[in-house]
Structures are given as structure tokens and as C-alpha cells.
């Protein structure tokens, strides 16, 4: 009907090799903690700085997510860490897509000598807010949108599990994907969480038989197809790659990054390519910047609010042909022990949003850094290249990380 594409790339300069992640930190991830999100972010940042062997007074750049409530701003940084030096500030950080693109913004700031040590953090207390019924939570942004509020919410097409259940049904129709195949993603994520000390679902076992026996929730989803809601925060510290060697831990180098969008934004019902994600645009671009291909990726972490979103991104990032993701994820393919050499794809080795925590993807980046340092709980043997797939629905990002020398 039209030659107009359904999405595209955000233009990025080449920043390959310029910036490194040198420190990572997290709070505990829990349900209904009652904790202040700003205090949680401060704890995560302090842990990340400690991990890097850096002091708070060495930080001269602060990134957070603008437009989202209760994020840790430069004012909070001054208040918690007592610094009075000039700070470069960016509201283009945070989690989701931005956990992948923050290193790009940081690289440009470092290149232009606006900052030299930059922290990016994200914090969320939606488990507490949901429990307290204070109106906050993942659905709030959608409920307040004029179009969704008038053309979707009154018909019950709300919140996110409903969008993605309809998308999953469409994927099943177009490609023959089955519920058991979606279940395979939930199972592998849970197995990884079971052996990860920070995972909310560490003690909760889940087999494919358990999954299939679970009652329908939002057909075709079971509860296990949907992410956790938890409280917690995570942060990472970035600096120039040539300075990174002086930090406490082996540096992790940002080798490629790209960002893309769907022209229908987060109006999921109107996505013309409804069974695809904008990863189809940004993953190849990030691989190009890094000089790699999908076959070179040792460990993958993908924003996984629902099993189907993980599945679509695995396809769109080139790990299998479009539409064959269901067959691809069966069995132990995604298990960290199998590895690429034996046809596997170590995936969300911390358990992801489905079973580790719901800090909206920033813990995925933390996990990848630990993988490349060789200090992960579910360590992938000889991991050299790690990739994060970020997602908001309307946008995606791909971040290619490499083990530093």
C-alpha cells in the first residue's frame, strides 16, 4: 500500500572504542520494599563507584531519565555525595532503550571535554506503588495518553500485557509460534535466576510442564510470560577508554551503539510491522560500528517485558530468520552453559525482567559487564562480545560491548 518504511535509524556518529564502562552497582531487588527510589539510586551509584575504584568527587557527569518520576538527578547527586564541582547533566540516560544509548551520549560528552567520569542510573519503586495503589506503575504513561485514553483504554486494550498478548497471537498466526515456545524463554530465564544471587525469583523453580499447566492470564499469555514488578536501582560508570585501564576492574569497551524507532511510537495496535521491533534497524547498525556480526556475539541480554518481546528481538537482531524464533528458542538454546560454539545463544543470563528484576533493563547491562569481566554468577565461558537490546516499544537500541585489553 505504501513504500514508506515503518521505522528507521536515529543518525549516530561513530564512537567505537571511545568510551568504557568501568563500574557497575545495584541494590537488592525486592517486591514492595517501601524504600525511597532516590535513596536506592544513591546506593547503586555508590556501589558502582566503589566497583570502579573511583570517588564521588571524581564524577563530573550525571545521567538520568528525564520525564520519568523519581529519578536521581544532578541535584540528588550533590545532596547525597556532597560534591560542589560543576556537573555535566543529561536527561537522556536511564534504562529501557536508554540503558543502551547512554554510553553514546557519554562518549560525545567525553569527546567534547564536557565530562570525564559519568554515572548513569535508574531506579524504580513500582512494586511498592502498585501495592499502595498510589496510581504509579508501568501503565500510568499509557493511561494518560490522549489517543490511548480515548481509543484503547475504554475498550479494555490496556495495559501492556494486553498489547503484547495480541501481538503474540499475531506472531503465532503468521509464523506458527506456539505457547510452549514462548514458555521456553520463560523457563530459561527462570533457570538463570535460580542460580543468580540477585534474582527476585531465585527460589522459584519453573519447568515447561509447570508453565503449560498454569492457568491462562491474558490469553495467550500466562503470568510467566510477563515481567516481574519489583523495587530496585542500578547504575554504571563510564569514562574514556584510555583512562579506563587505571580503574579497579578490567574495562568493558563500548564497541558499537545504535538507536531506532517505529513511526507509530508506542501505539502498538497501529504498528504496521506488528510482529517486528525496531531492532531490525538498529542491531545491524550497531554491529557495523563494532565491526562484528550476530555470529560473533557470545552473550545477549534483551529487554524482555514479555516473552514475545524477547522472541521478536532475537529474530530482529539476526540470531535466526524472522519468524523462526519460536523453533530457535526451544530446548536449552538460551542456556548460558551451551554457548555459541555448540549452537546456543546465552540469553538473559541473570534472568531478565521475567525472573531477575524489573529495573527496566539497566541490570541487563550490569550483567553483561560482569560477563565480560568473567565475574558473572552464570558465567559464559570466554565471553568476549556482549550485546544489549534495549526497547521501549516505540524505540530500540543495540549496545555492543567488548572485553577490554
Amino acid at each position: 500500500m505504501t513504500s514508506r518504511n515503518w521505522g528507521g535509524l536515529v543518525p549516530y556518529e561513530d564512537i567505537a572504542g571511545e568510551v568504557a564502562i568501568v563500574g557497575v552497582g545495584e541494590t537488592a531487588h525486592t517486591a514492595n520494599s517501601g524504600r525511597d527510589p532516590i535513596a536506592m539510586a544513591a546506593e547503586a551509584i555508590a556501589a558502582a563507584l566503589d566497583d570502579a575504584g573511583l570517588r564521588p568527587d571524581q564524577v563530573d557527569g550525571v545521567m538520568f531519565r528525564g520525564g520519568m518520576k523519581d529519578q536521581f538527578t544532578d541535584a540528588d547527586f550533590r545532596r547525597y555525595f556532597g560534591t560542589d564541582r560543576a556537573l555535566w547533566v543529561s536527561a537522556e540516560g536511564g534504562a529501557m532503550t536508554w540503558a543502551g544509548t547512554a554510553p553514546y551520549e557519554a562518549a560525545l560528552a567525553i569527546r567534547e571535554k564536557k565530562a570525564s567520569v559519568i554515572v548513569n542510573a535508574f531506579t524504580v519503586d513500582w512494586a511498592s506503588q502498585t501495592k499502595a495503589n498510589t496510581g504509579g506503575g508501568p501503565g500510568e504513561y499509557h493511561r494518560e495518553d490522549l489517543m490511548k485514553g480515548s481509543f484503547e483504554v475504554p475498550f479494555g486494550f490496556y495495559p501492556q500485557p494486553v498489547y503484547f498478548a495480541a501481538i503474540a497471537r499475531r506472531h503465532m498466526h503468521e509464523f506458527g509460534t506456539t505457547e510452549a515456545q514462548l514458555g521456553a524463554i520463560a523457563i530459561s530465564s527462570r533457570r538463570h535466576a535460580n542460580t543468580h544471587p540477585g534474582a527476585v525469583m531465585r527460589e522459584k523453580l519453573l519447568t515447561l510442564e509447570d508453565y503449560l499447566a498454569r492457568p491462562p492470564f491474558i490469553d495467550p499469555f500466562r503470568v510467566e510470560d510477563c515481567c516481574l514488578i519489583s523495587d530496585g536501582a542500578a547504575a554504571y560508570v563510564m569514562t574514556a577508554a584510555d583512562r579506563a585501564r587505571d580503574c579497579a576492574k578490567p574495562p568493558v569497551i563500548v564497541r558499537g551503539v545504535a538507536e531506532s524507532f517505529d513511526e507509530a511510537d508506542t501505539f502498538f495496535a497501529q504498528h504496521r510491522a506488528i510482529t517486528s521491533t525496531p531492532q531490525a534497524f538498529c542491531a545491524p547498525a550497531a554491529y557495523r560500528m563494532a565491526g562484528i556480526g550476530a555470529a560473533d556475539v557470545d552473550v545477549l541480554a534483551v529487554y524482555d517485558p514479555f516473552t514475545i518481546v524477547a522472541l521478536m528481538q532475537i529474530e530482529d537482531m539476526g540470531f535466526c530468520e524472522k519468524g523462526s524464533g519460536g523453533v530457535f528458542v526451544e530446548g536449552d538454546r538460551l542456556d548460558f552453559r551451551r554457548g555459541r560454539a555448540r549452537g546456543g545463544l546465552p540469553f538473559n543470563t541473570h534472568g531478565g525482567l521475567l525472573s531477575h528484576s524489573y529495573v527496566l533493563g539497566i541490570s541487563h547491562v550490569v550483567e553483561l559487564v560482569r560477563q565480560l569481566r568473567g565475574e558473572a554468577a552464570n558465567q559464559v565461558a570466554d565471553a568476549q562480545i556482549a550485546v544489549y537490546g534495549g526497547f521501549t516499544g516505540g524505540t530500540c537500541s543495540t549496545l555492543v560491548l567488548g572485553k577490554g585489553g
Binding site: L146, P154, F155, P159, A166, R169, H173, F217, D219, F221
Partner: protein
């Protein structure tokens, strides 16, 4: 049901849709310059950039594009009508339009993608919640 989520009827970019629904008609904005349907309403046509739209009645066959069955309401105001079935429809002859609505035709298990459905104007809260708003549902 005071807290049932009601559309914004007053906003100028949405009013024609709900005004038409009140008289049991289904209309969508169509670009005056290139004829493309543009949904949801937006200031400029994504095909040609045109800024002038004519709200046009759709008469073609409606087909089921996808759906979800909500067995446990995540949105409290809709709890009284679980299970409910939000659907996405497409229309023969109106490419570019996907209508989000709700299936009220029973036999949830028999739904298939691509099947023809009938637009039924009924209370937005049907079945069981009275909003006194006429809305295009489907059966």
C-alpha cells in the same frame, strides 16, 4: 460506574469520531490531498504531509486482526466484565486503519484471525456497565 475509563469527547481531534459513533456511524480521518486514511488522528498525513483531513465513513468488511482474552482485569474499572476480549480490526478498502474495540459476540474459543466481524453500536461498557456512551463494539 463512575470510574469507567471514558474517552475525551471534547478534544477537537477526537470529537468527530465520537459524534459519529453517537449516530451509529464509523468515521476515520482521510487525507484530502492523497486519500490515505490516517489513524490515530495526527496533524499531518504520514504519506504526503498533508494537513487537511475529511472524516470519512467506512463501509467495508471488518476483519479480526488480533485479540487478547483478559481473564484477570489489570484495570480495576473493567473487573465487572471479565473475561473480556479487546480486539484489533482491519477493514477491506481502508488500509491504514486498525480499530481497537471489544468483542461482545460470545464464543471466545471460536475466534480466528481474518474472520469477518460485525460492528455493533452499543454501550461502551457492554455488557453490564452503563456509561450511556454509544461506541462501535463488534460481534
Amino acid at each position: 460506574m463512575m470510574d469507567f475509563p471514558l474517552p475525551n469527547f471534547a478534544h477537537e481531534s477526537l470529537k468527530p469520531f465520537w459524534d459519529a459513533a453517537a449516530s451509529r456511524k464509523l468515521v476515520f480521518p482521510r487525507c484530502t490531498a492523497c486519500g490515505a486514511f490516517c489513524w490515530y488522528p495526527r496533524p499531518n498525513c504520514p504519506e504526503c504531509g498533508g494537513a487537511d483531513f475529511t472524516w470519512t465513513e467506512i463501509g467495508g468488511v471488518a476483519r479480526l486482526f488480533s485479540w487478547a482474552v483478559v481473564r484477570r482485569a489489570l484495570h480495576a474499572p473493567l473487573k465487572p466484565i471479565v473475561p473480556y476480549v479487546p480486539v484489533i480490526l482491519e477493514f477491506d478498502g481502508a488500509p491504514g486503519v486498525r480499530l481497537v474495540t471489544r468483542w461482545i459476540g460470545g464464543d471466545i474459543g471460536g475466534l480466528t484471525i481474518g474472520q469477518e466481524v460485525r460492528i455493533t453500536f452499543d454501550d461502551l461498557g457492554c455488557p453490564g456497565i452503563h456509561t450511556d456512551i454509544l461506541a462501535p463494539l463488534c460481534s
